[in-house]
């Protein structure tokens, strides 16, 4: 039996900023339709990893294959074509504050796909309903929304173009535990509905357990553990064990001083 090729395959990914090495040879496979959560401490390079995969940052070396196609180093039109496969929920929502909520959600449809505004608005309101927001929210400006609502709008915007791959950057950071769980449920629901491949980064273990099929841990620029989420509690990896139990003592030393 031959295995299906992974949706995203990363080999030997390196990225450094000046002297500081952030990604030091990351290898990672994400299967089609799988939800992978990358965990790791603050400053471990999780954000750099997803920004490099989606093309917001250029890797120094290494390979990123999406559907078997090498995307590292793509530019212009080729890059645009690849970016269309992605949706992304940003940590702070990153809603455009000069536009109304529905225009935010419809942005990818109107600007990216040149869809007429009326039709895009219809889809935007549909997506807003999917994340539990009524049509009256559509005409508000993002500044009028609470943090949880902004996250929902961000989620609606990420799924508006029905992407094949969705990235979630710290989806629950800054939310209360109940709202965090609501967002987790929405993520699971949206990903399942689209049949999308999902990659999330978080340091919130409750969130990771809820949305992950697989979990990978990033430490010092490398993936040090990658397995099914059910196995995370029985691992003998001391780093993972320390991280998921949130202990200050252990093999991971917080760099308190530079």
């Amino acid at each position: 039996m031959t295995e299906a090729p992974p949706k995203i395959a990363i080999r030997g990914l390196h990225k450094r900023f000046g002297e500081k090495v952030v990604l030091d040879g990351v290898d990672l496979d994400i299967a089609r339709g799988e939800s992978l959560v990358v965990i790791g401490g603050s400053g471990s390079g999780k954000s750099v990893l997803i920004k490099t995969i989606i093309g917001l940052l250029q890797p120094d070396s290494g390979s990123i294959r999406i559907d078997g196609e090498e995307t590292a180093g793509l530019r212009g039109r080729e890059r645009d074509r690849v970016v269309r496969k992605f949706g992304m929920l940003f940590q702070g929502g990153a809603l455009f504050d000069s536009l109304r909520v529905w225009e935010n959600v419809a942005f990818g449809l109107i600007q990216g796909q040149r869809m007429p505004r009326a039709k895009a608005r219809e889809i935007a309101l549909e997506k807003l309903a999917q994340v539990g927001l009524g049509p009256e929210v559509g005409d508000l400006s993002p500044a009028e929304l609470s943090g949880g609502m902004q996250k929902r709008v961000g989620l609606a915007r990420a799924i508006a173009t029905d992407p094949e791959i969705i990235f979630f950057d710290e989806p629950t950071t800054g939310l209360d535990p109940i709202m965090a769980d609501v967002i987790n449920d929405l993520i699971v629901d949206c990903v399942r509905r689209l049949g999308a491949t999902a990659l999330s980064i978080t340091h919130d273990m409750a969130s990771a357990r809820k949305i992950a099929d697989h979990v990978a841990m990033l430490y010092q620029g490398k993936i040090i553990w990658h397995d099914r989420v059910e196995l995370i509690d029985s691992t003998d990896n001391p780093y993972v064990d320390q991280f998921i139990h949130g202990r200050a003592e252990g093999p991971i030393k917080m760099q308190l001083r530079r």
């Binding site: 940590q91 942005f107 990818g108 990216g112």
Partner: protein, 257 residues
């Protein structure tokens, strides 16, 4: 500390920044002339840069024209050369003061606003979000501002020229006792087409520089509110210095031959 090493470091940093700005400019320009265009955004920026700057630029121009007439009178009346006042006013305004003062006022108003807006979009990841939504931030954010700056400032300066000359006229007629008809005739006789054109060319260059500095510093701002604040300051200061130095260069090109 070795003083030579410090000088060397500053010089290298200067060269690196010049290179970065050059690459940024080239990239922005290439996006200005290739589709897709965003006419709605261009018009919105033109209104912001042109229409909403009219009051402040108009006030600057009228007072400048007035004080020009007053000061040249103090000097010229000693040599009974009062008849040269219309000449001085119209040439100073159209060639130099109109474009430079309007440029500096707009740099403070618009350069700062552009840097703050784009800088905030950068630190809140809105610029990254644009990219993930298949929209090039150079086309969506930067090109409309550059096009609007380049095209709107000459119109603004044309208005400022007229208001400035009118300021000089007011003082000359009502305070210094000139004959209105003679004053106007002298003004029109003295001003050449090239005087106005050189001022408008300057205005276009200044408008482009203001928008470019706002976009560049905003686009590269880092580190939260403080970074955006620094970007705003840098945008205004660098735009002002560039305006004054390009003003000399363009004057040299037009009138030194």
């Amino acid at each position: 500390m070795n003083p030579l090493a410090t000088i060397g470091r500053i010089f290298l940093a200067f060269l690196a920044t010049t290179g970065r700005i050059t690459i940024f400019t080239a990239r922005s320009l290439s996006h200005c002339v290739t589709p897709p265009f965003f006419p709605r955004l261009i018009i919105r920026q033109m209104i912001e840069i042109g229409y909403y700057s009219l009051p402040v630029v108009g006030l600057t121009a009228v007072f400048t024209g007035m004080v020009l007439a007053l000061q040249s009178y103090t000097g010229f009346s000693r040599f009974s050369a009062e008849s040269a006042i219309p000449n001085v006013v119209v040439l100073s305004i159209t060639r130099e003061l109109g474009p430079v003062l309007a440029g500096l006022m707009v740099a403070g108003r618009i350069g700062a606003a552009i840097a703050a807006e784009i800088g905030t979009m950068r630190v809140t990841e809105q610029i990254d979000a644009l990219t993930t939504l298949s929209t090039n931030p150079f086309k969506y954010l930067i090109a409309p501002r550059l096009i609007a700056g380049l095209t709107t400032l000459p119109l603004l300066v044309l208005v400022a020229d007229i208001i400035g000359v009118f300021g000089g006229y007011l003082v000359s007629i009502y305070k210094l006792g000139f004959n209105p008809a003679t004053y106007l005739k002298n003004t029109i006789d003295f001003v050449d087409f090239i005087d106005v054109v050189s001022g408008l060319v300057k205005a276009g260059v200044f408008g482009f520089l203001i928008a470019l500095m706002g976009c560049y510093h905003g686009f590269h701002s880092r580190g939260g509110a403080q970074g955006v604040g620094a970007a705003t300051t840098n945008a205004v200061v660098s735009a002002s210095i560039l305006i004054l130095s390009f003003n000399y260069i363009i004057t040299e090109l037009f009138f030194s031959a």
